[in-house]
Symmetry: C2
Subunit: 341 residues, 2 copies
């Protein structure tokens, strides 16, 4: 699923910043892939990227209009169709991570057919997968796992890719969800794969690589989440990680959307090691990434200190303080030395 870059970020007329979180993620992690943003009157979100219309974006080289919004139903607002059709008429590809398929909107399908541009529905794989094999693949792999959904697994993986690259280590973020696919321009949304093929899809996402190369694989869900644990375990077995990082949000009491309590970091480490050994007997936890957004700075520092002591591992908040200690530990644990990039 290669998406032609650079992008023009389409925010529609969404009310608030949260509804534009795909755009924020893209502009935060890939500012050089984004020539600007296109907002309709009344839009309450702003990524900070230059406001451009389609001709201005194309003059700056834009090749794809990305519908960079998220909403509960995964629907496309009919009021946005004319703008999307106009972008198609001008020759832009269109990409979307919504549940609804672009080709299922007749005006969009017809315009794309007429103009010969690509419609990329990121959520829906454009290929079939084999079942997972579990065979050892060369290359190193790190997986971000979580005590729950939405605790920073994607952010942590992208932050690790960046800091490892800065340290001179060959590292690639591997996307397993729709936003990650848009940020990296490849990968697959494994929550939309047929159940028998979850681990097989991940084996495809993170193929054999050079022995010194690190794939930093975006985690999904939680082994303890009653809705999505199947995705999480198939991902763990397909990823066959050498190392994993546990992501956690310390103020949450029940998991997202359900009544089940959030498991402890220790429970997640135990279960991930127990089951991860199936495809990588040497699997080990290399650190903890905590989303301390809801704690004040003193409480955040104190929480990280206690978590590090409790597990004898580095504990970081990638957003607030960066991943430094975690990267140092990983490099030392795997006998790598930081090189000048």
């Amino acid at each position: 699923m290669d998406i032609a870059k650079p992008y023009l970020l389409f925010l529609g007329d969404v009310r608030d910043q949260l509804a534009a979180k795909v755009a924020h993620g893209l502009y935060h992690w890939r500012p050089d892939w984004c020539v600007g943003q296109l907002r309709l009157p009344g839009c309450g979100a702003d990524t900070g990227a230059p406001d451009l219309d389609v001709p201005a974006a194309m003059a700056r080289g834009a090749r794809t209009l990305v519908v960079a919004v998220a909403n509960a139903g995964g629907t496309l607002d009919p009021a946005w169709t004319p703008t999307i059709v106009a972008a198609i008429e001008a020759g832009l590809d269109i990409a979307s991570g919504l549940h609804v398929r672009l080709r299922d909107v007749p005006e969009i399908a017809a315009a794309a057919e007429r103009r010969g541009v690509r419609l990329v529905d990121v959520r829906h794989a454009d290929r079939t997968f084999a079942t997972g094999k579990g065979d050892v693949r060369p290359g190193r792999r790190l997986l971000t796992v979580g005590t729950d959904c939405s605790v920073g697994k994607k952010y942590t993986a992208l932050a690790l890719e960046k800091e490892l690259r800065d340290a001179g280590v060959a590292a690639d973020f591997r996307a397993t969800g729709q936003t990650g696919v848009l940020v990296s321009g490849r990968g697959a949304a494994i929550d939309a794969v047929v159940a028998d093929f979850i681990s097989g899809a991940v084996e495809w996402i993170s193929p054999a690589a050079d022995p010194d190369h690190w794939d930093i694989i975006e985690g999904q869900g939680s082994l303890f989440h009653p809705s999505f644990s199947g995705v999480t375990l198939g991902l763990l077995h397909g990823a066959q990680p050498d190392a994993f990082v546990v992501c956690h949000e310390p103020t949450r009491r029940t998991m997202r959307g359900v009544q089940a309590p959030v498991p402890s970091i220790a429970e997640v480490i135990t279960a991930t090691e127990l089951l991860g050994r199936v495809t990588n007997p040497a699997i080990r936890c290399v650190g903890i990434a905590v989303n301390t957004e809801r704690l004040d700075e003193a409480a955040a520092v104190s929480y990280l200190r206690r978590a590090a002591a409790a597990h004898a591992l580095p504990a970081v908040d990638p957003v607030r303080f960066g991943c430094g200690p975690l990267v140092e530990h990983l490099l030392a644990d795997f006998g790598l030395s930081a090189r000048a990039a």
Copy 2:
């Protein structure tokens, strides 16, 4: 997915008994649902059911022709199409558990449309599912889990349903695979569900029931199988079982289709309890079901005795010796008394 009964079992011209395992399973477990079998010249399989043509089967009340064969690709032999079309013309519904959809064979689709009969593709759910919620549902549930695929999880569940009913306990087998759906006439093949909806599908398969009622849920795969573990964990969380039985084949060294070693019974108990607690904190193992087919009788008896002692649980071979001790233990453990049926 209700399939009109009784069935005429269609074996085509398959070469051997193994290729007709769906038919064997149906005739073994549901002889009263099967008026007979329909075999083409050269067929090397025989369930023992009466050989009937379509008119004779209909005279005995048949309502559905079941394509009761299994093959690697899940394909439908074109040589069988005329027989299927003739059955449609006579007014029979058609059911199939193959990968290929009946409606994708043009002659079959056209005949069904013309005659107004139903085509039931058991492998493909005819509905969408919600994501799993993990909320506690009334009723008791037992799940068969395994150290591997194809170790007797379906057979054990069906045997338990029968012996519990014989003991006067309200019990229903709940199918999660295509053969199980055909045997029970309901359920869903959860390996064909989109990954995000595995546990939600199982919540639908095993809904709220009377507090004294037991759902005996057919397990799939293994938490330790690198290809299918995601299906297994989603099934465990959706089933929220009070009790589980570990199924095992003692002569197997690596898991089916992969190089990973078969886990021990103890490892499966530990992992199932650890993760099963998410949706049922009281989950416990109530016994071990061993497929001793490859052991002689003395070795089988000895193996079962040792397994029972090692785990302090009843160990049975449901095919060879029945489930008696396991059912007795379950009844005692849950404070049930065997009543005359």
